[in-house]
């Protein structure tokens, strides 16, 4: 796992895509920080984090679109799957690498928090709670995106589908409002807003943490199963 993790990080940071991702992330988060925190003179950063939740939906697929598909296209996957590393270790290594890049991007909020700290007291607890929600949400999207990239060798297709799914997950509230009964309950439960918003108000709900971790685990599992199925189905 660590071998794959280190290799993925190396590839990420030698490719222009990650720098473009970081640039866009930093630019928009800076914009949000300026418009929400500075302009409204608040010491609460969660507004800016909430705003980046939407932006991340758009740009996160860039991190995952080549994760598995490209290896298959270039036939480097043979190398990984004929090595002593197991399928799950390989999947974990790759997802962790993507999560690390996401973490590096998210770390900019800590800088903003210190900037606020220069002028007034920061609500650190609320801030870290919001950041935790942001990280959990992102990691679960990465797992979904990784799974999509197993399904297709085409990076554009992978990115578009991942983007569509992210969008759907964030619009789930709206869709839920159109139906009623049990469908409404299910759709509301699946909505990312339902589980993300409480973090931004400083509540750490165990059920929400479990939701994001379950999505992550489930899609990592799907990814590994899908790879093994392709290799071992007779």
């Amino acid at each position: 796992m660590t071998a794959v993790y280190r290799k993925e990080l190396l590839i990420y940071f030698t490719s222009p895509i990650v720098y473009a991702y970081l640039l866009v992330f930093y630019f928009f988060s800076g914009l949000g920080f300026n418009a929400i925190c500075i302009a409204q003179q608040t010491n609460n950063l969660t507004g800016a984090i909430d705003y980046m939740f939407t932006i991340s939906m758009f740009i996160l697929p860039v991190l995952t679109m080549r994760l598995f598909g490209e290896e298959r296209k270039n036939k480097t996957d043979i190398l990984l799957y004929t090595s002593p590393a197991g399928t799950f270790g390989i999947v974990a290594g790759k997802l962790l690498a993507a999560a690390t890049v996401y973490g590096v991007a998210s770390a900019i909020f800590v800088v903003y928090a210190f900037v606020i700290g220069l002028f007034t007291a920061v609500q650190w607890a609320v801030f870290f709670c919001g950041l935790l929600g942001f990280l959990l949400m992102g990691v679960s999207l990465i797992a979904i995106g990784g799974f999509i990239s197993v399904l297709t060798e085409n990076q554009i297709v992978a990115a578009v589908i991942t983007f569509a799914i992210s969008l759907l997950l964030s619009l789930m509230d709206y869709i839920a409002s159109m139906v009623s009964g049990i469908a409404k309950t299910v759709l509301e439960y699946l909505s990312y807003n339902t589980h993300f918003t409480p973090f931004q108000t400083g509540q750490i709900g165990l059920s929400h943490i479990i939701f994001f971790l379950s999505v992550t685990g489930l899609f990592a599992f799907f990814t590994a199963r899908s790879i093994d199925h392709r290799r071992f189905s007779a």
């Binding site: 030698t14 036939k75 480097t76 190398l79 004929t82 090595s83 290799r231 007779a234």
Partner: protein, 351 residues
């Protein structure tokens, strides 16, 4: 060392390999030969544990590839048909990654130095893989397979796309590597197999059609001692004279190939060698023999005979399996390629 038993792989209706069985002993270098699309890569992918078989099993050192993947993968170094390289890495980064992947920790630097020297990539060690020539890329691929010092090396068409000089280098390297290891080398180039391997396994349309030493195979298949001869002198008289030589069953005129001389194909009576009698007779009559060659099958002939299906020598019951997949059309192509590679090699040998 390697035991392949009744291996089959089907993709839907297509049978890629069909009940292939063979054993490879420790220290053997075997050539895995077949036309394009015969199932060589599929077999190798199964042996290395990349994909599973539909039926049958592969054992390495007694360990089943599917049941004990960790044990078997540790023992195998694999160079797939397309070297699995990351173009954006330097050679050093790449080989370090492979060491990590194969859990090589002890004396890593020394091991890497040795390998780089062996495959001669030390001079490109710090360069990006994307900027390397095809020959270097191939050698980095071989270096990758050597990391972890595996007992078994599986090389899928290691010389494809290389120039003649590189081909010879890689062949010599494989021979050297085979001194201490078990090697399976696939190719559709016959001269390559002949130059490197002790034993040859031929598959065609997914079926094993021959398994044995190269000389054995050609001896088994060449059932006659036909002689082709070129004699200076009037065609009709020479023809008559040849026909009367003791032991000659029939003579066929092959026409004029060189000014003042004609070629003939002589079929001797069963199991007689007529070359001496021919020489004496022609010398007596003062018709000089300009050339004479006995028609012993080369490995190339064996290959063509087996893979195009016009062989009924009983090595197997060969029937082309997949309709529309005409190996008769494929085989001659690889044959010519082989011939080209061979003549290229001769050329550079002289140089």
């Amino acid at each position: 060392m390697i035991e392949v038993s009744n291996l089959s792989k089907r993709y839907g209706a297509i049978t890629a390999i069909d009940h292939v069985s063979f054993k490879v002993d420790k220290g053997e270098i075997i050539g895995f030969l077949g036309p394009n699309g015969a199932g060589k890569s599929t077999t190798m992918n199964i042996i290395t544990g990349y994909i599973s078989a539909t039926a049958g099993y592969v054992r390495i050192d007694g360990y089943d590839v599917m049941e004990n993947p960790e044990q078997t993968k540790r023992r195998i170094g694999y160079l797939p048909e397309q070297p699995p390289l990351y173009p954006d890495m330097t050679v050093k980064e790449y080989l370090d990654f492979i060491c990590d992947l194969k859990n090589v920790r002890k004396d890593r630097r020394k091991a890497l130095e040795e390998i780089c020297e062996q495959v001669r990539i030390a001079d490109v060690y710090k360069r990006l893989i994307r900027n390397l020539s095809k020959g270097y890329k191939q050698r980095v691929g071989i270096a990758q397979a050597l990391i972890g010092n595996p007992d078994v090396l599986i090389l899928d068409e290691p010389t494809v796309g290389l120039d003649p000089k590189q081909i010879i280098e890689i062949r010599d390297l494989i021979k050297k590597l085979g001194e201490r290891r078990t090697v399976i080398l696939s190719s559709h180039i016959l001269s390559e197999i002949q130059a490197v391997c002790e034993r040859v396994i031929i598959i065609s349309s997914g079926k094993l059609v021959a398994d044995g030493r190269a000389e054995e195979l050609s001896a088994k298949l060449s059932d006659d001692h036909d002689v082709q001869i070129r004699v200076e002198g009037p065609e009709e008289i020479v023809f008559q004279t040849l026909s009367k030589v003791h032991g000659v069953k029939s003579v066929r005129k092959l026409g004029k190939r060189e000014e003042g001389s004609f070629d003939y194909l002589i079929e001797p009576k069963e199991k007689t060698d007529v070359r001496r009698a021919l020489f004496n007779r022609m010398a007596e009559k003062k018709y000089p023999i300009l050339s004479m060659s006995s028609n012993q099958l080369t490995l190339e002939d064996v290959f063509l005979k087996l893979t195009t299906g016009d062989y009924d020598g009983g090595l197997s019951e060969f029937t082309p399996e997949i309709p529309g997949k005409d190996n008769a059309a494929e085989a001659p192509e690889s044959g010519t390629e082989a011939a080209a590679a061979e003549s290229e090699q001769e050329g550079s040998d002289k140089a």
